[in-house]
């Protein structure tokens, strides 16, 4: 019953999306005062409620393990802890697509509910675009991936969830990432709406900016969480594998980062109009491309749930309609958008243009690297593309971008000279060169880690320079946001470079009682013990580990065997210190009484994720600053209107 309710709600929501599209179009043609135009906003809001209801129904059938629902039977199991039953609802293709449309409908409801700054015609066009995009995904869900499909006969037991997914990471990582992916659909709809009505104005950028920032914060958090999850769960000791699915999340992030910078130029200076629109289209296109790559099963990945050609072609079709349509509209209308304000090369805008071009170049590099295996496969050549390609080629564009990022925020808008900030440039350059020379001489690092560490140090210093000579209390919150986000990037970069420069790895085969060491750590395997969990059994290696001969700590990494589905996983143990992590993995094989251990000492590796969190914090500060500024402006405007009304009444 609940499942049918969920399905019915989904169909109704799809109908409302169609109404929203129609209302928006009629409003564009007829005028915003007509009856049907009045329906657009309520349709969007109601649709959000219905889809949320539908998603609630899916959570419910998973929570009670309703085995007559096919999706539950194939992906869940009665003996699984409740949290993983619920998070398992989106640990599969259909459920994750429902999560996708839920987030999308809620975002649509939110803009319909609260966004009143833009001209009503632009809003109607925006909502129509949002309805159009949503409609495609409803069709995909309802026609080819119905999450509520019943089995003719209820299964006696579910097949279980992939053990790698039975982790708190699954509860956090996909929803966060989806908020980001789908949040970009709002930016896309705004861009299409503005193109339709030719209203590309600073107001439009201001309305769009909190959405871009919000989506970007979620993407940042989602990528950070996903990276840490892969790091501790897979037991491979790496935090980023340039896996197609990781790239699929990185590409929208790169586009969104470029977009939020260009939107800020448009909002403050009324320049880069066409470019901002273009990025709005590209950012969401990258989200959809990511979905296509992941959901179509066209690429090998742990994320590819099901290989179903029909679904792949369906998403490809959607992709072609939306991206093709938006680009066509762009081509037709871009010429009609007036020239924005001018600026000189040495200006804030100039620096941001460099940032945008470099980010786009990195995006192109990642995109090509991700699609290359697909291209060669068409010629029956199988290749894989990994770090040897992505790291150096990406770095060629990343380091110049970081250099501009260090000094760009110091420049003034419109017209400035480098002479005015020559002291600051010299300071940053001094840190950079000192870093390269000192670290190079001390450690003899490879080029990329060396540059990474030096740039990280220089950038960390440079990120605070915009605050120089200002009263800290009077610095606007959004400026703090920028400072914090840039500092976070420096921290993250430092972690990545340190991980690649200083990681020590040690493989050992130990008997019980044997000892070994990795980096500054001494490790003694005390005993190997069997452990049982709710749906798994394991052997755990109890080890005493001590840092530089200090007080020993006991850790017990496991090698687990799950029953349903039968699978072995490694449960690594991380010992975190302020200056890095010890990473211990236990092998299951017992060869002649010796157990295999894989140990890593990774100095400052945690900075990668701290940095990610700091970047997101910067984004949150920027949202707070922007929204607050906006509210203030509204209040002032209302007060002015009230005063005027009073004065008129008096007169």
């Amino acid at each position: 019953m609940i499942a049918e309710l969920g399905l019915a709600a989904l169909w109704l929501a799809a109908a409302l999306a169609a109404l929203q599209l129609l209302g928006g179009i009629l409003a564009l043609r007829g005028g915003t005062e007509s009856d049907i135009a009045g329906l657009t906003r309520p349709a969007a809001i109601l649709q959000g409620g219905l889809v949320a209801l539908s998603f609630g129904a899916l959570l419910w059938v998973f929570a009670i393990t309703d085995l007559s629902v096919k999706l539950v039977a194939t992906n869940s199991h009665t003996m699984k802890p409740l949290i993983f039953k619920i998070s398992g609802a989106w640990g599969n293709h259909e459920g994750s697509m429902l999560l996708w449309v839920t987030v999308m409908a809620l975002a649509g409801a939110l803009i319909a509910g609260i966004e009143r700054r833009l001209p009503e015609r632009t809003m109607q066009a925006t909502l129509a675009a949002q309805g159009f995009v949503a409609l495609g995904f409803y069709a995909f869900l309802l026609l080819s991936s119905n999450p509520f499909e019943r089995l003719p006969q209820p299964a006696t037991e579910g097949m279980g969830l992939n053990p790698l997914l039975q982790d708190i990471g699954l509860a956090l990582h996909p929803p966060t990432l989806y908020f980001g992916y789908v949040g970009l659909s709002v930016a896309f709809s705004f861009a299409v709406g503005a193109l339709l009505t030719r209203q590309v104005t600073p107001d439009f950028a201001r309305a769009m900016r909190p959405w871009i920032l919000g989506a970007w914060v979620f993407l940042t958090l989602g990528i950070t969480a996903g990276s840490y999850w892969a790091y501790y769960e897979l037991g491979w000791g790496g935090y980023w594998f340039w896996d197609p699915v990781e790239n699929a999340s990185l590409m929208p992030w790169l586009a969104a980062t470029a977009l939020l910078h260009s939107a800020s130029v448009l909002a403050s200076r009324d320049a880069l109009r066409v470019w901002t629109i273009m990025l709005g289209v590209v950012a969401f296109s990258m989200s959809m491309l990511g979905t296509f790559l992941v959901r179509s099963g066209i690429l090998t990945s742990v994320h590819a749930f099901a290989v179903d050609p029909e679904r792949g072609s369906f998403i490809l079709f959607l992709l072609a309609i939306y991206i093709g349509g938006a680009l066509l509209l762009f081509a037709l209308r871009a010429g009609a958008i007036n020239e924005g304000e001018r600026f000189s090369v040495a200006s804030r805008e100039g620096a941001l243009v460099v940032n945008n071009v470099m980010l786009s170049a990195i995006l192109a590099v990642v995109l090509l690297g991700t699609l290359y295996p697909l291209l060669t496969e068409a010629f029956d050549v199988r290749v894989s593309v990994g770090p040897p390609y992505f790291n150096p080629v990406g770095a060629i564009f990343a380091f110049p971008m970081l250099a501009v990022m260090a000094v760009g925020p110091l420049l003034r808008w419109r017209k400035d000279g480098f002479g005015r900030i020559s002291k600051e440039i010299a300071l940053v350059a001094a840190f950079l060169l000192a870093g390269i020379v000192l670290l190079g001489l001390l450690f003899g690092l490879a080029i990329l880690p060396l540059l990474g560490l030096s740039f990280a140090i220089a950038l960390a210093v440079a990120s605070f320079l915009p605050l120089r000579g200002r009263k800290l209390r009077r610095v606007p919150i959004e400026t703090w946001g920028m400072v914090v986000a840039h500092f976070g990037l420096a921290i993250s970069l430092f972690g990545m470079a340190s991980e690649s420069a200083f990681t020590e790895e040690h493989l050992a085969a130990l008997e019980e009682g044997g000892a070994t060491s990795v980096g500054p750590w001494q490790v003694r395997l005390e005993a190997v013990e069997p452990v049982a969990g709710p749906n798994w059994t394991a052997i755990a290696g109890r080890m005493a580990v001590s840092y530089e001969g200090g007080e020993p700590q006991t850790i017990a990494p496991q090698s687990r065997n799950f029953w349903a589905p039968p699978q072995q996983t490694t449960e690594s143990v991380l010992v975190t210190r302020w200056n890095g992590q010890l990473y211990a993995v236990m092998g299951a094989d017992n060869r002649g009484g010796r157990y295999q251990l894989r140990l890593w000492w990774k100095p400052f590796v945690t900075f990668i994720w701290y940095g990610g969190l700091i970047i997101a914090l910067g984004g949150i500060l920027a949202i707070i600053g922007r929204v607050r500024g906006d509210l203030k402006r509204r209040i002032v405007r209302r007060k002015v209107a009230e005063r005027r009304a009073e004065a008129e009444a008096l007169a």
Partner: protein, 153 residues
Amino acid sequence: MKAKHQRLVLVLLALAALFGAVLLAIYALRNQASYFYLPEQMEASPPAVGQAVRLGGMVAPGSLETLSDGITVTFTVTGREDSAVPVRYTGILPDLFVEGSGVVAEGRLDAGGTFIADNLLAKHDENYVPRELEGMSEHQAAKMAEDTTVGLE
């Protein structure tokens, strides 16, 4: 500079940078992409010694041996036409790595014709096969289908 000119210069610069990125990417991809080899291909036309490639095939039953250090293993990967490539790997064997099952090894050939693997990808779970191994064995495919429909009527 006139407004039109500035826009033109900006667009040209952006295009040049993107074009440069694409050219660079294509150039790098040709050199850095790691090619996939089946055992018979590796025997017929081996890649250059030290070049990063991947090798996919079946772990020959009875070939898995652990060396005296306890962490290095050797095994043979077989393909069609009696082809076989010896592989050496140092590390913890991945989950579900068993003799007679499929594997993809990432690594390089050494001068002696042994494949030195840095990383092994085994069948990931019952529902997931490395793409390169799809269609390797009909028997396995049938077994997979059987496994994936357990519990479904």
